[in-house]
């Protein structure tokens, strides 16, 4: 492009200023990337929730159990295709900082309920044959360098004592957003070993419906079936359940939007001011360009192009930095298992950076466009 020298040389007229402005964009977009990653991590469950699944929990709270006997009754409701259940174990591996979710699962029904988690058949068989068997997500196995055959001791917090497991299989989610940090073991093992209070009780049910359009009706029917019982239920679609679970940590989306808006507004002011100064300093040069025959529109585009270039370079650097950070995996050791900057987020971030670049450069660019050549040349 024949005008590139003109654009680039102007950008490097004040190198430090240009570098600092690019740095502002880079920091802002890095922050945007990180906030988006955290937001994505909190909402991961919502994104991957099955449209044909509903979750049944105790009406009082998710930490209150439900009777295992509900399974048969739910299966009798028209439109219910399958039912499985799980318990939250809440154990600690070596150190409390090594958080990861452990579920005691119903062996026969859990695997077909969640086909997105793929376990090799031979590993599943080995798991089924071992009372102390366990299956873990690929990411969790990688984190602790576990391999099939390893003996894994977990210290119970809700369920007392040390529980030893044999790693029999490693599952892998089909989608990039799937949670590969879970630890599954036999519900039967939990039931057999735990004290009688927990016998016949489970944490929550997951119900597969034949037709996703019937989810709301079936959820209502499940709750009606168990109303006025000692263990009333609260049923939601898996997506709604995941959303309410995410909300327990506060309105992360609003928080992120607020921080992002403040950051980008500040960036707008910083860049706008920088471009305004840059134009003011170059009044004579711009006047000369116009005198030589460059049009008002060209001068407008020139200033906008400089602003846009700053935004593009800074934005790209910031997003690249954020991406690099996520490649290192979850820095919170399990709190944010889905620590991933998606290409869509990169595109959105880069687009926002470009919009900020254009908006910030618009006013100085219009000033430059309207510059009166005679007055500008006389001023110097």
């Amino acid at each position: 492009m024949k005008y590139s020298a003109l654009i680039l040389s102007n950008l490097f007229r004040k190198k430090i200023r240009t570098v600092l402005t690019i740095g502002s964009f880079a920091v802002a977009l890095f922050l945007f990337g990180l906030l988006a990653v955290v937001h994505g991590a909190f909402n991961q469950g919502i994104d991957v929730a099955g449209v044909d699944r509903v979750v049944v929990i105790n009406k009082v709270s998710i930490i209150q159990p439900l009777p295992v006997s509900y399974e048969e009754r739910m299966l009798r409701i028209p439109g219910v295709k399958a039912v499985t259940h799980a318990n939250w174990f809440g154990g600690v591996y070596q150190d409390e900082r090594n958080f990861f979710p452990q579920f005691a699962i119903e062996d026969d029904t859990y695997r077909p309920m969640f086909p997105e988690f793929v376990v090799p058949d031979d590993q599943w068989k080995a798991y089924m044959d071992d009372r102390e068997g366990a299956i873990v997500g690929a990411e969790l196995a990688k984190r602790f360098k576990w391999k099939v055959g390893d003996r894994i001791p977990i210290k119970g917090t809700i369920f007392q004592g040390t529980w030893d497991f044999n790693l029999r299989g490693i599952y892998q989610g089909k989608r990039i957003q799937d949670d590969n940090t879970q630890f599954w073991f036999h519900y039967k093992y939990l039931e057999e070993r735990e004290n009688p209070f927990w016998k016949g009780l489970i944490g929550w049910y997951t119900v597969k419906v034949a037709n996703p359009d019937d989810s709301a009706r079936i959820a209502k029917q499940i709750d009606e079936t168990f109303s006025n019982s000692p263990w009333e239920t609260k049923t939601d679609t898996e997506k709604a359940f995941a959303a309410s679970f995410a909300k327990q940590a506060g309105n992360i989306g609003f928080l992120i939007m607020s921080i992002g808006a403040v950051v980008f507004f500040t960036l707008l002011l910083v860049t706008g001011n920088t471009m305004a100064i840059a134009v003011r300093e170059r009044v004579r040069d711009l006047a000369v360009l116009k005198a030589v025959g460059f049009s008002d529109v060209f001068v407008l585009v020139l200033v906008l192009a400089e602003s846009l270039l700053i935004a593009a370079v800074g934005g790209a650097l910031g997003l690249a930095g954020a991406k690099l950070l996520t490649l290192g995996g979850d820095p919170t050791h399990g709190m944010l298992p889905f620590f991933y900057l998606s290409p869509q987020t990169v595109v959105v971030g880069f687009s926002v950076a470009l919009v900020v670049g254009v908006v910030a450069g618009l006013l100085p660019a219009i000033t430059a466009m309207k510059l009166n050549v005679v007055a500008a040349l006389r001023r110097v």
Partner: protein
Amino acid sequence: MVRVDGGGNGSSLVRVRGLDKKYQRGSEEIHVLQGLNLDVDAGDFVAFMGPSGSGKTTLLNLLGGLDLPSAGTIVVAGDEITHLSGSRLTEWRARHVGFIFQMYNLIPVLTAFQNVELPLLLTKLSKAERRSHVEMALEVVGLKDRMNHFPRQLSGGQEQRVGIARAIVADPTFLLCDEPTGDLDRKSADEIMDLIDRLVREHRKTVLLVTHDPMAAERAHVVLHLDKGVLVEGQGTGERAGVRS
């Protein structure tokens, strides 16, 4: 032939009739140019002299299409420029006018080559053609070996020579020089005037020069004096005043 009585025929390169320019300064109206007439033929070298504030630069700005008159007409090479829109006037300037400024007005972040190339960026010339034109222009002003230098690496006289190369590179219809030696020492000023002289003699350029310097004005074919907003031939100038070579 240069005339200021409005009696020139239609063949003049520059034809100015009844040119008025008024400025408003607060409540005061300043009448800078009053019914000014001028005819300049192709190849003429005209110097305008006069005290500060007499309207020399204003006249030059009007002739170069940088400013619009309050009344009157300016016709250059058959184009009446006084009624052109802003964008058409910009295009016209790119084709017809080469400006040489007192302060050189080179863009400091561009090399001599890039400064001279600027007017050619508005043309459809290829990169190779632009390069050839720029090198030729720098050769004319004797600075081909300095083409990769930035303005800060050049002396004042050299900067002005780059400014002249920029003015001539697109082969404009005429050159407008606003005090081109005003910021130079005598020796550099003489070199610049030699160069302008050569452009007129060897390259048949038409030059309109505003200057305070009588020695610079003496190089012109005709010296016109601006007095109270009108042009007067030959007042207070050298022996060649009012004479067409």
